[in-house]
Symmetry: C2
Subunit: 97 residues, 2 copies
Amino acid sequence: MKRIVNEGVLWVTQPDKSRTTVKIYGRSYKIVGKENSEHVRRVAGLVDEKMQEIHDVNKSLDTTSLAVLTAVNTMNDYIKLKEDYEVLQNLLEEKEE
Amino acid sequence: MKRIVNEGVLWVTQPDKSRTTVKIYGRSYKIVGKENSEHVRRVAGLVDEKMQEIHDVNKSLDTTSLAVLTAVNTMNDYIKLKEDYEVLQNLLEEKEE
């Protein structure tokens, strides 16, 4: 999913694409991509939720920090899950031997 | 990992914590949390890299959009991996029956 943003519009550089307008932390983005609209809305909703959660903990946070922080948290979750995934993969390989 | 940001400083609200200063897209954040410094630096480095990649595709992007976009991309990766993880879990359960 590569996206290009221009004046609040996110574009995904892919053919046969869906177009979905989402609102993340009060700002609208038009997301164009191969993912279907339902999926795009789900992803955007989760990001919006995380930003809101972090805002609730510190109301003085500026939007950029909030978004960076959300990215850091999500990346941390991703890396942890990736490690768990590799553990499962190894277990499965062992069982298949 | 709950973090509070104040004037460019990220704080994670947890006891027995490490303190790590990282630079993400030209801005310094002091991250305090239970993760070790090496891990925090790795996570921050990946976020910085993603923001840079998206910037390279559209240089007119403002920092907030870049960060939101990075969060959206990472969340999408997370959800996809989560689905793959569940598939593996089911496979493993089947094998154990």
